[in-house]
Symmetry: C4
Subunit: 336 residues, 4 copies
């Protein structure tokens, strides 16, 4: 892992410092770049919210080889983990000699190889979405394309292209409606009403994930509209300064939507222990963003796979040390 | 904005570091200068109080183009925002080759050009108040002169001069009664009783703003005396160490005076998101101080206008991301 | 003040850094020296406890020239302020060319000149107590000698010498029973029972101050024994790591002993505002330690007098800005 | 002590910085090494939990020479203090020219000389456990061998060897089931059930200590299985990131198991005051880890003895300043 991170540190110079702990402090305000918006407080809040969650360490029990397999969105996964949709290698990551295509291929193929699934991003220029779609096609449809909440025509054109990849699930990162980078490029993205969401779902047979939910209100709207899943997310703190951390709002949202909706979450997840915390707080699965981008830029597919293995080891270790034998039955009592 | 800040950093050298976040830490104790008094805790408390206020990010709704127009103090404004009264370029800001007159002209004209209104300061030497009055005259009376709470004669002389500018509103920054800088120059400023305030209002037809209110007590006194508006303010932390931040006391004060009095607030507001927070906490409008001074010293009228545009973009963005369609109807529920 | 502090910084090199805010961080563990014991947490807690106390700034009132005169321990004082007993210039302060005698003369004479009273310290070597007694004699008995809680004979010998100075009040810093510096020199100091305290009071006609009270228990014992006054103090954090700050325990102690006992307090008081805070928390008067030592080493009697004037200006300013007209009637409502 | 620490700083270079306060910040993530796992939060939490515990300083009483003698696990000890089991000089401590044997001899012999008892560690390579057993044999059985929770055969082989040292007490650090260092070496360690614990106890006549208890659940399991003692411990934060500090969970665990079980605790104890805090929170005795390792590497047996003397002086001082006359009767009321 250290070699991959060292390589990433060189290639991302000027865009990402690949800090010992990726917490949004050094890169505060760097949008475009890898930072959080403004003071970076929303990015950092994700880390703080997770840090404030602590484990009840438990060793007198019989759990020695816990299982991490799960079923999410109709997919069999080796861990309840997805690579979050991030694009824009050239202006967000630097990336050295790594092209948008090479980057997203590494994410999608690395995840597939390890029994997970990768999400692909969207944005300006077009190469972001196009590369994502190509990567998913190459993986036989094993990937989740995300589309930003563009004005009508652009949105439905992209939806059609996404469906053509063979993907069975797609997502909209609705919180991108606040992305400075896109507004500056003259490509407006906007909030959506429940009826906007329904129209989107009618237009495709793919399952729908709404990403960017930070309130019970938006979660219940997504459920009312018929979404398959939500992602509790503040877009890595890149759209609105001063939001809470996702780990703080997750429990109330998970409780509000109930068991029949799939609840995913991202934001500040860095280790296998963090994954376990999010599951204990009510999520069915998690997304990890920046660390996957760093692994892909630093080591391409091999980097992605190595990072996944690290997470798996940490997750199993945390499960053993809390007496948790199955990721599908994580008790809230493992948290203090 | 970066060019303006860079220019300001050079011109204000030794007086203001134009920090990434203007929070009173580096300049603690620098009065005169741009800092807070003593340990700087009252300046910093303003930032901390705002930081502790967080947004409920909300995207499932139909707000795409919110309005920021408002009516305050009988004035039509493009945003609920005033440039706070700050004077003393030479001893507070350094300012390089920028004269007191050039500085305050930039504030007043820049605000007018962008549909806002600027306040002008008072103090020793006389050039501060005189330049402010001149700037307002040039702007056809579109400015708000502030007068410090001097002993009787000096106060009423200055009041007469302020009225002669054509201004329809004036203010007294009563908290200046604690300004070390003035006391050292042998020009006493003092607290005022309700009857002192009434006498002031009888002497003019201009509307009256009392600035420097940090308690329900003082707010109710201002209301009893018949003031049009109050500014919840600790004078940027420059008069008394160890006061709370204004965002902390604003809600209780706004509730106490009720809807019929105009409640303004300053203190640590740096972005459009901060403006929205203050509105959600009960203010009808806000004042911003140091960042306007930096913009004016760094880029004169152009600097002021650019800063206003930045704030407008941020304010609209924060409104969209919280589902707020009108600055005159900001719900407290947008805050977590 | 800056010149005095600069001179002190040179003379105290290696013992005290004369930091911008004297808070025990840089000198943590430096005992002997000017620091707090161990991690320095008890020293720092004094500052933190005071920092957490905040003022309700109030300007609509008629207080323009508040009075600071008071009567304490049968003495008329220009402010409710005493210089705390500190000795040991050579091993605690460095002090350059300043002798123990010159130092304590500066404290006692400077305080007397400004209408206050200085306390003198005790310890090993004998020159500390002897110099203190001399200084008080020169001031016509206007000083308060402190004696450490030595074993019987040494204590009563010193008490006799203290009485011979003409002083009308003396004190015992009972918390010195934890002083590492003395234990290392083979001169044991010990806790005292109520009957020990009674025996001390019977042996002299001077009024008695018990210094080092941090609990209601010890305060009530002092009252039971017949002490005139207590000083809420953790010995500047120099005897026991991990005590609370004095401003935290002061209110409960002041309430427990009631109005008929004089309650003094020291610990982290740096400004006139801090003095006002302690009065609002229930103290009748305060002691300031390290800053007086720094002023005396840096500027001798002139340094002490200048520091007192600075404090007086700050105290009056804080009184005006909170609407307090008399140090003998400070309302707890001035604190938020 | 300073000379010993200076020597340790040189010998442990690259492994331990011998910081002014040993708190896990500088060495975060250094496992192997002396740090805490991951972000180091669990190591640091131990310090924070202790820091948040504060003393009621009390001086009006008759306690002048408190006693620190106690009886623990059938052993007469001069203080309720054990050296915690730590091994692996070469890969955890650097250690310069200090061999595993020389190190553990220093711990065991130094403790015995001062009336305490040292624990010995276990791990890979075999020299760790073997050296520990040798040291205990040389000390006539006066030491406590710890065994990690290995798979069956390895465990019982080591138990037999431990018993052969003449020791009357042994322990299992069950939390080692999370040790990355061992997993990487292909030597699995696992959680244990109550029946696993019972089997262990049946196989030996030595008294049994279960180390690594952080919940009431595990404590009651240990009691049910018949263990003589537990050690409340998060393994110095080296096995699971994000656990609470031991001082935080100690009171609830001590209350749950009741007076008839011996409750020990480690984690962040650095001074005699910390020992007293843990006793006041419900422990019968404490273990100290890293500081003993530093003392042993820096000064061998002499270093260990000097450190013990320092702790004793601090403990007695803290007892005097809180009015505590006996370590076997520490009142919770000495804490604020």
């Amino acid at each position: 892992m250290e070699a991959i991170r060292k390589s990433a540190r060189e290639k991302m110079k000027g865009y990402c410092r690949v800090c010992p702990v990726c917490n949004g402090k050094a890169c505060a305000g760097e949008v475009p770049g890898m930072g959080g918006l403004g003071t970076g407080s929303a990015f950092h809040a994700n880390l703080e919210a997770l840090d404030s969650v602590r484990f009840n360490m438990k060793l007198v029990h019989g759990v020695k080889a816990p299982t991490t397999d799960t079923e999410l969105l109709g997919l069999s996964l080796a861990m309840p983990l997805l690579a979050a949709p991030i694009g824009g290698v050239s202006f967000n990551m630097g990336g050295g000699d790594v092209s948008e295509g090479a980057y997203i291929d590494a994410i999608v193929a690395g995840c597939k190889e390890k029994g997970l699934i990768g999400c692909t991003g969207d944005g300006v220029p077009e190469v972001i979405h196009a590369s994502g779609n190509d990567a998913i096609k190459k993986a036989g449809g094993h990937g989740i394309p995300f589309i930003k909440p563009w004005e009508e025509k652009e949105f439905f054109d992209k939806l059609e292209k996404a469906e053509a990849t063979g993907a069975t699930v797609f997502g909209v990162d609705i919180d991108a409606a606040g992305l400075v980078t896109l507004a500056k490029m003259g490509r407006p993205v906007t909030p959506m009403t429940v009826s906007d969401l329904e129209k989107v779902m009618k237009a495709t047979s793919m399952k729908f994930i709404l990403k960017g939910v930070m309130t019970v209100h938006d979660a219940l709207c997504a459920k009312e509209a018929g979404a398959e899943a939500i992602v509790v997310s503040n877009h890595g703190g890149r759209v609105l300064d001063s939001t809470p951390g996702t780990a703080e709002v997750l429990p109330e949202i998970a409780e509000a939507v109930g068991a029949e909706m799939t609840v995913l979450v991202d934001g500040g997840i860095r280790s296998g222990g963090d994954i376990l915390k999010m599951l204990a707080l009510g999520a069915h699965g998690v997304m990890i963003g920046r660390p996957f981008a760093i692994a892909a830029v630093g080591g391409l597919q091999q980097g992605v796979e190595t990072y996944i293995e690290t997470l798996r080891t940490q997750l199993i270790q945390a499960m053993v040390l809390t007496g948790t034998d199955d990721v599908n039955r994580v008790e809230s009592g493992i948290l203090r």
